[in-house]
């Protein structure tokens, strides 16, 4: 393996730190995230309240810490869902061809014709929103794209001669999939997955912002930003703090994605999405 690119290291470290902080959140937060303290409301950032307080006197820093895990779970969870459903579908479509492929790809085309946010809205509009449901909705939104990518990768690999060599040995479908296709498929799939995490976090927090994610008093970052709107002029820090943390997380994840791309397939560099 080549040396690990710097981008991967730097991004990975940042993401790792955020994950650790999110996991330890409840224990290391200086204050209770939903402890009201009306005497200390709308305080600017200070040494006691690192990110200031909100309209209920709650410590914004503690709330940000407590809410971190939502964004992480959203990003990674939703992506894993889309991976787990999308990749097998795509590989099956590549393998089977014929009617199965047609049916799967028509379904994919249909779902791609619906703008992502709309699909998310549709699914969440009619149920009680919450972290799990939002994660599921976002995951489902990205299933078609993963299916398409997995199918393209599968088709490319199936055209390689070494796969035909395996067929010439009479190898069964399972062996070909497991030993010939998958070991060569995972680099491009990993790269695609890492890109999806960014989008999943974005979509998830946007839906939460609109009120369709975790509900108050949870301190999901998108929700916090939404709740900060009435106080934008007096206490901008209530919205800025979670917003900047969200940006940091997204940049870090993006950088990790670029690093993975450099590591696993330099040819894809600069192709963006």
């Amino acid at each position: 393996m080549n040396r690990i690119p710097r981008t991967l290291l730097v991004g990975g470290v940042i993401v790792g730190v955020i994950c650790i902080l999110a996991a330890l959140g409840p224990w290391i937060a200086p204050f209770e995230p939903d402890a009201f303290n009306m005497r200390a409301r709308l305080q600017p950032p200070s040494t006691t309240y690192w990110f200031g307080t909100d309209e209920f006197g709650r410590d914004v820093f503690s709330r940000v810490l407590a809410g971190a895990h939502h964004s992480l779970l959203m990003g990674f969870g939703a992506t894993i869902i889309s991976l787990v459903i999308g990749v097998p579908l795509g590989l099956i479509a590549a393998f089977r061809r014929g009617w199965t492929e047609e049916a799967i790809m028509r379904g994919v085309d249909l779902m791609i014709s619906i703008p992502p946010v709309l699909l998310g809205l549709l699914i969440l509009a009619v149920t009680e929103p919450g972290l799990l449901k939002t994660m599921l909705a976002v995951g489902l939104v990205y299933v078609p794209i993963m299916t398409r990518v997995a199918r393209a990768v599968g088709l490319d690999l199936l055209a390689e001669d070494f796969v035909e060599a395996a067929r010439a040995r009479g190898e069964g479908g399972f062996h070909i999939l497991a030993r010939e296709i998958l070991p060569n498929a995972w680099p491009p799939l990993i790269v695609e997955t890492s890109l999806r995490v960014t989008f999943a976090i974005l979509l998830g927090s946007a839906l939460s912002f609109l009120g369709l994610g975790p509900q108050p008093p949870d301190s999901e970052w998108g929700l916090m930003i939404a709740e900060s709107r009435p106080f934008i002029s007096e206490a901008p820090w209530i919205g800025l703090a979670p917003g900047l943390c969200l940006c940091l997380l997204l940049i870090a994840v993006n950088v990790v994605g670029e690093g993975l791309r450099d590591l696993l397939d330099p040819r894809l560099r600069g192709r963006g999405h």
Binding site: L110, L203, P236
Partner: protein, 319 residues
């Protein structure tokens, strides 16, 4: 080419129809009756029964679907539950206002995105190129709604230059006030997309510049700027069309958020309102309209692509 277009058209029809089924199914088939949803937890059975009768909800599902579907085809979106008015005109009005945002945005994204992408590709490695790449990273990582907040804090609250929310119709408030209300929403919509499009155009332009046929054109003694304009550019722009079509979808998503933040009375805001207030007809109607627009945008892109790409436009062999 005609068979290609015919297939695409059929596909659009299919998608729209399938969307009606999907929307209807999700709204009506999920647990909890619709009437219950509307009236809330403590409604009496009588009240529920009365509402169901009034809305025709006690009829079998396929009948309900058929009524709604045929209504759609006639242009009748049913009655808005919360506004006591036909849903159709409400949706159309909101659509008109969102269309302003959307069209200005798409034009800006196309011009600036393509322009910056080409500039970047022809000045690889310079400060402007590196700066652009850095900004792209940055813009892609900032969520739309946060942009809105930032931009409001900066321009509306601190500088007070522009209004934070609302909308003033053109004929009422005059051009400048109308434009003022549009500037912030449009800028937040376009920033991320410009980054995205310029990045793609840059790599597609680079690919064209590094191609064999550009080398061959240079070998013919054609000056560099003509080579770029006549040989590289057309081939580089073809993928841009496809990207712009996909971006319309992202734009739609952005519009929902942006309208919500800026209290801009467009289709997105209407949709959120409908969801929050369980206004079923408005919600379903809004979703269908948005999907239709997206499907049409994609169709337009496909047609444009087919017309501009000789490989699809002209088939068969010659000589």
């Amino acid at each position: 080419m005609t068979s290609f277009l015919a297939r695409r058209f059929a596909s659009v029809i299919f998608v729209l129809w399938a969307m009606t089924v999907l929307v209807f199914a999700i709204v009506h088939v999920l647990p909890g009756s619709v009437a219950h949803m509307i009236l809330g937890e403590f409604a009496t059975t009588d009240a529920i029964a009365a509402l169901e009768e009034r809305l025709g909800l006690n009829q079998p599902l396929y009948v309900q679907y058929w009524t709604w579907f045929t209504g759609l085809l006639r242009g009748d979106f049913g009655m808005s539950l919360t506004m006591e008015r036909p849903a159709g005109p409400v949706i159309l009005e909101a659509l008109g206002r969102s269309a302003i945002l959307a069209s200005i945005s798409i034009v800006l994204v196309a011009i600036l995105g393509i322009g910056l992408g080409i500039h970047s590709a022809t000045h690889v490695g310079t400060w402007s190129d590196r700066g652009l790449t850095l900004m792209q990273y940055f813009f892609i990582a900032v969520p739309e709604f946060f942009w809105c907040i930032l931009v409001i804090i900066f321009f509306a609250v601190w500088l007070g230059w522009l209004p934070a929310t609302g909308y003033a119709p053109l004929h009422e408030a005059g051009f400048w006030r109308w434009a003022q209300h549009l500037i912030l929403p449009v800028s937040t919509l376009v920033l991320g997309l410009i980054a995205h499009v310029s990045r793609l155009v840059r790599s597609s332009m680079l690919e064209a510049i590094e191609s064999r046929y550009v080398l061959a054109a240079r070998a013919k003694g054609i000056p560099e700027r003509i080579v770029l304009r006549r040989h590289a550019l057309p081939n580089a722009l073809l993928p841009a069309i496809t990207v712009l079509a996909v971006d319309v979808g992202i734009l739609i998503g952005g519009i929902v958020v942006v309208e919500s933040v800026f209290a801009f009375p467009g289709l997105g805001r209407m949709l959120i309102y409908a969801i929050d207030n369980q206004d079923i007809p408005l919600m379903m109607g809004g979703m269908i309209v948005i999907t239709a627009i997206y499907a049409l945008a994609n169709l337009a892109a496909d047609i444009l692509y087919a017309v501009l790409n000789p490989r699809i436009r002209v088939s068969g062999s010659a000589g």
